[in-house]
């Protein structure tokens, strides 16, 4: 079996949650394998990341180069191509960096590519059987990949539960010398931070979150009324921001904010993965949707099939009632 590598992203020396998930995914491909973590960057932050990874990975390859201080996928790809043995299996998280890096990496390595994997069922001969989703999460599909010449696989963040692993006491291997001269046709300039707006949804305990099901801008008030009654805030999924019904600062999701509320009311939200990716910390999810087959019902704690435009005002009234009694 080919060697398995897990590319780990980090920020300010802190490794991403996906590190544990990639370990778990690698385990599904080959339970006997000890995957190697591979990290790029430079300076003390990189060292710190490597040190953290040693707790779970047996071997950590450090690729340090000044040009890699900011993770530019174009440069990282070149570095990896220079360093990885032929036929390797590379795992990464399917988020904005993985999306940027992985497809091109598979071509340069001559390896097969499969993205956004939910499950890895295991090997059947030379073929790896995996599970993906299509049509916005409405159907699942079994897919087989010929990994005989290597593979680049991205996994859906949160899909692979971290394994209980005994500390690995990993070794850091410095492969920086093999990285080669790194230049690319794309040069990082800066990161423009999103405006926070008047409400910071990342600090809220309870979120009333709305999706396409709210139907029109005028109905946003219905959610706001409930949020006011609860002492909560209104957040939303991407389509609401695209339609300009709420500002970007209210968006929960992989391209929006990561939120950690205790209670999350998903109203008229279908449950597309990109949105759910923004929910951290295992909140209690109450899903309200007209469509009984909406994917959100698979991940919610409690589900209600109803018209949110009717249900929310009644819920708001009930909350007001409860407050009066309590007062």
């Amino acid at each position: 079996m080919a060697r398995i590598f897990a590319y780990i992203t980090h920020r300010a020396g802190i490794i991403d949650d996906s590190a544990a998930e990639l370990l778990s995914a690698a385990n599904k491909i080959d339970p006997a394998a000890a995957p190697t973590a591979i990290v790029t960057g430079s300076g003390a932050e990189l060292d710190s990341a490597c040190a953290s990874l040693c707790a779970s990975y047996a071997e950590v390859w450090k690729l340090s180069d000044e040009s890699l201080a900011y993770p530019n996928a174009e440069l990282v790809r070149k570095a990896l191509v220079n360093v990885l043995p032929p036929g390797s299996i590379v795992l990464a998280a399917h988020e904005h960096f993985g999306i940027d890096l992985a497809p091109g990496l598979s071509i340069k390595l001559g390896a097969v590519f499969a993205s956004d994997l939910l499950e890895i069922e295991g090997m059947e001969g030379l073929l790896l059987k995996v599970v993906r989703q299509e049509f916005g999460g409405q159907v699942s599909a079994h897919v087989q990949c010929d990994i005989s010449s290597g593979a680049v696989l991205t996994i859906r963040p949160g899909a692979f539960k971290a394994l209980a692993i005994s500390p690995a006491n990993g070794q850091v291997v410095d492969r920086s010398a093999d990285v080669g001269t790194l230049t690319a046709g794309r040069r990082y300039l800066e990161t423009v931070v999103a405006e926070t707006g008047d409400i910071d949804i990342t600090k809220q305990n309870i979120l009333v979150s709305i999706g396409r099901g709210i139907q029109e801008k005028d109905n946003v008030g219905i959610a706001q009324d409930l949020a006011d009654a609860l002492g909560a805030a209104v957040s939303c999924s991407r389509p609401v921001v695209d339609a300009k019904w709420l500002e970007k600062s209210r968006q929960v999701g992989s391209s929006g904010k990561a939120v950690k509320p205790k209670v999350y009311l998903a109203c008229g939200i279908s449950g597309a993965f990109q949105h759910l990716a923004g929910l951290k910390g295992n909140p209690f999810i109450i899903a309200i949707n007209k469509n009984p087959k909406a994917p959100i019902f698979q991940v919610a704690s409690v589900g209600i099939v109803d018209d949110l435009l009717e249900l929310l005002p009644e819920l708001t009234n009930k909350i007001h009632e409860m407050r009066k009694v309590a007062a």
């Binding site: 029109e216 801008k217 005028d218 339609a243 018209d307 005002p313």
Partner: protein, 694 residues
């Protein structure tokens, strides 16, 4: 005999003889006027064609009713009365004006046919007329300065008001009246001083007042006054003549033509291009109005004729709720554009896009096509066609708001704006419990006498399906053999057309027409006024269509429908006239007859009712548009119902129902106000047939 005082023709004005002076003034003034009018006509010659020369007798009737008869004016009592008086005065004084001017060239001129008694009688009438006009000028000026009606104000985003100009014009007309009266009065006073008979001046008329106050004025002064007044009159007359085309007063000249060429087929929409059949439309390079010259000549004439009275905007629901639309300024801005780009001297600069320049996109999309503006306008200016043409231009260029693109795409692929599947269109009739009591035929192969055209919202919306079922039950009750098209039915396309997507509309229309024809029905009935209007006016070659309220009213009249009394005697009902049933199609009374036939039902009228009804917010695609407004139209309407003392609003349109029910919630009147459709109420109150008698 020696003349007491010289007449203007004979007198010498600063070394020039009167006759020559006035001849020059008249020739120059007229030449000026004709030049100005020619320049004003220039854009009309570049405008699109408009077929307005047919049915001359009907057009003359319009002229008699709306021009001579000032039919629309009394809708605003105060301003209307003043205007009727002024207009009547002008009509009477037209002859007088000509007569007076002729005197300047031809001394002792007498108007043909007005010698002798007729002339004297005319003189008296004319004298009072000019007095009335003069007084009206005073009243109008005071009103304009001290009691300006709100509808005259010009919000900053539309430009600036012209109060000084308005007073200036009123003053000029007053001067005209005064000059003529002084001209007469001074001569009469002179003759009186010499003990000679003067032209009879009726008591308390303006000329009489002048005469009376000049009785002791020395003759030379009278002479100067007489000649001076005449000169002032002539100059003022021609100044006014040449000044009017520069502002709203141009309507004095253009109104006659505007009213003659007014649209005869109200309720219809102008075709994309006159003279181009639907089949030939593919060859037209550009749809709609993008630049000024894309307007038809008649629409340009409308811009000139607009008197800026503000009645349209005063009744426009979009304007009332703070949307960026004011029908008045659609016209005035275009007129100012024409004035600016077709100047008196120099070449015309034109061809710029109007939307983005004088109009904003939101302005154009805000219109619900309710027709309140057209109902009000004394000059029969057509606003809806202009908005639709502007929308056609935007659609042609792909400038459609994102929120409308989705339903349009769904209409194209699924035949309804919700994107729901065609095969589910008749599901509302297939609910098992309903099927047992009221089986609804689907006309795929089966035959029926009438077609119940359901249209999209009643077919797919959970709440509105109740209207569909109630309508079916009523049709059964009156014994009407009917069926529905089911999955073969597509959206009527009524709003699609009014939102400027003509091609998609025609596809929907052609599909429906084929299905209707294939079904072999002889009549069509619908509960949706938008579908009713489409089938009546936008569709060709389909059987005659009725609205369900007409069927019910007929049933009430013939006794087929009998009602039992209302349960709650304390409820107060009010009927809200849907725009496309009432204003556009004049069906006001039938729904009221139905309500009045229900025993114990207390009904009140809102102050805005019948042709002054206030739009609920619009239907079809308008439900998907996100307007910038301060308030919802529906909320205003619900407040009007509350003010009238009602707690039940009866509507006869599914879109009104959506908007009103929504508005009740938004206005915080849940529990205090309810809405019910006419068919639901009818179905509820129909006396059950005696089971023994069946």
């Amino acid at each position: 005999m020696m003349e007491t005082i010289q007449s203007p023709a004979q007198a010498t004005y600063w070394l020039v003889q009167g006759r020559e002076l006035f001849l020059s003034i008249y020739v120059l003034g007229s030449a000026c006027f004709f030049y100005i009018v020619a320049r004003r006509l220039a854009p009309l010659l570049r405008g699109e064609r408009d077929f307005r020369f047919d049915r001359p007798l009907r057009r003359l009737r319009n002229v008699l009713q709306f021009w001579l008869g000032q039919w629309r004016h009394p809708r605003y009592r105060g301003a209307g009365t003043i205007h009727i008086l002024i207009f009547a005065g002008f009509i009477v004084l037209a002859t007088r004006a000509f007569w007076v001017l002729a005197l300047g060239i031809s001394d002792g001129f007498v108007m043909p046919g007005l010698s002798g008694t007729t002339g004297h009688v005319y003189g008296i009438v004319a004298d009072y007329a000019s007095t009335v006009v003069f007084l009206c000028m005073m009243i109008a000026a005071i009103r304009r300065l001290a009691f300006t009606p709100a509808r005259y104000s010009v919000p900053a985003r539309y430009g600036k008001g012209h109060p000084a100009d308005a007073i200036f014009l009123l003053a000029l007309i007053a001067i005209l009246m005064a000059a003529d009266s002084l001209f007469q009065g001074s001569k009469a006073a002179a003759l009186a001083q010499q003990g000679r008979t003067a032209e009879f001046l009726p008591v308390l008329s303006l000329p009489w007042i002048f005469k009376d106050s000049l009785l002791s004025t020395p003759l030379p002064t009278l002479q100067s006054l007489h000649l001076g007044a005449y000169l002032v009159h002539g100059l003022t007359f021609f100044f006014l003549l040449c000044y009017r085309p520069f502002g709203i007063q141009f309507h004095v000249e253009t109104s006659l033509f505007s009213l003659y060429f007014a649209k005869l087929d109200r309720g219809t929409l102008k075709p994309v291009r006159w003279g181009v059949s639907d089949e030939q439309l593919g060859q037209v390079k550009s749809f709609g109005v993008k630049k000024f010259e894309d307007f038809t000549w008649k629409h340009m004439l409308d811009f000139y004729s607009c008197a800026d009275c503000g009645r349209c905007s005063d009744n426009c629901p979009a304007n009332a709720v703070g949307r960026p639309l004011s029908p008045r300024f659609i016209g005035i801005k275009a007129r100012d554009y024409a004035f600016q780009h077709y100047p008196m001297f120099g070449s015309s600069a034109n061809g710029k896009a109007l939307v983005g320049d004088i109009y904003s996109e939101d302005e154009i999309w805000s219109c619900t096509t309710c027709g309140a503006c057209e109902e009000e306008c004394p000059l029969l200016v057509e606003s809806i066609d202009k908005v639709v043409d502007l929308r056609r231009g935007l659609v042609d260029d792909g400038d459609v708001p994102q929120s409308l693109q989705r339903p349009l795409k769904a209409l194209e692929s699924r035949g309804n704006p919700y994107g729901k599947m065609e095969k589910k269109r008749a599901d509302w009739a297939a609910a098992p419990q309903f099927q047992q009591t009221c089986a609804v035929k689907v006309l795929n192969g089966k035959k029926a006498d009438a077609l119940y055209f359901v249209d999209s919202i009643t077919s797919y919306d959970d709440r509105m399906q109740a209207i569909g079922r109630a309508t079916a039950e009523i049709l059964h009750h009156v014994g009407q053999d009917f069926g529905i098209l089911g999955a073969a039915e597509r959206d009527s396309g009524h709003e699609v057309r009014r939102f400027g997507e003509e091609t998609l509309f025609q596809a929907l229309r052609d599909h429906n027409t084929e299905a209707i024809t294939a079904s072999g029905v002889r009549r069509i009935v619908t509960a949706d006024p938008h579908a009713y209007n489409a089938l009546k006016h936008d569709y060709k070659d389909v059987p005659p269509v009725e609205h369900i309220s007409q069927v019910i009213a007929r049933g009430v009249k013939t006794g087929t429908i009998k009602f039992h009394p209302v349960d709650n005697q304390s409820d107060v009902y009010t009927y809200h006239d849907p725009c496309y049933l009432g204003r556009h199609n004049h069906i006001y009374q039938e729904p009221r007859n139905v309500l009045d036939a229900i025993p114990g039902l207390k009904r009140v009228e809102m102050s805005r009712s019948r042709d002054r009804s206030f739009c609920c917010g619009g239907g079809g695609l308008m439900l998907f548009y996100e307007p910038k407004e301060e308030q919802r139209m529906g909320v205003k309407r619900v407040q009007m119902a509350a003010e009238a003392g009602a707690n039940v609003i009866v509507t006869a349109c599914p879109f009104c129902m959506v908007n009103i029910e929504d508005a009740i919630k938004v206005a915080g009147l849940e529990g205090k106000m309810t809405a019910i459709d006419l068919v639901e109420l009818t179905q509820q109150q129909i006396a059950q047939k005696d089971p023994k008698a069946a």
